[in-house]
Symmetry: C2
Subunit: 111 residues, 2 copies
């Protein structure tokens, strides 16, 4: 049996961990794409969507940091891991934060 | 003559660097206190305000990261360094971001 995936409870999500997790442009792009796919998305699809060639280990590491920070919820389906953004909990806990961050990255791409 | 202080131009402030700088609770607290002191504040006053006993080197390191990220503007007055938050530039570039982050830290303190 694979190890169960750990997720922080909503009350334990810290703003410091969220900011650190999203201070990496690749992780921020993963969250942006996951937000558009509420049914979840696995690593392979994500790589295709972002035009990235991340090694499986780098991909796992990014997902782990996002999961530990409380930004995404991951579930195993067979050998694949499907992830979705914890949008509702995050918007209740940190109103306006995700939107402001995503807009900030968007603005950077337009420069 | 001391080295001149380097500050990124507004166009070069990146969301990634801003998020990384504010992912440290001490740096976020420094920005929060500086926001309340538009005339600026030096390291000694900041330590007193925050009830911290940061070594001068740690304090300088925090200020340097905040300055390099474009969050604060620093100016020498004699041997002291006075800093202020680049509030207007930041709110034009990343609307709602600083407010959402500061509110997130506030909420964490209340938990």
């Amino acid at each position: 049996m694979p190890r169960p995936l750990q997720h922080p409870a909503s009350a334990d999500i810290s703003i410091a961990a969220v900011l650190y997790a999203l201070s990496d442009p690749v992780r921020a792009a993963i969250v942006r794409e996951l937000t558009k796919a509420p049914q979840g998305m696995n690593c392979t699809e994500m790589n295709q969507r972002l035009g990235l060639k991340l090694a499986k280990s780098s991909c796992s590491q990014h997902y782990r940091i996002l999961r530990d920070a409380g930004l995404i919820f991951c579930a195993r389906k067979g050998v694949e891991l499907f992830s979705r953004v914890r949008t509702q909990e995050l918007s209740e806990k940190f109103p306006g934060l995700l939107r402001a961050i995503m807009a900030g990255y968007e603005a950077g791409h337009r420069d």
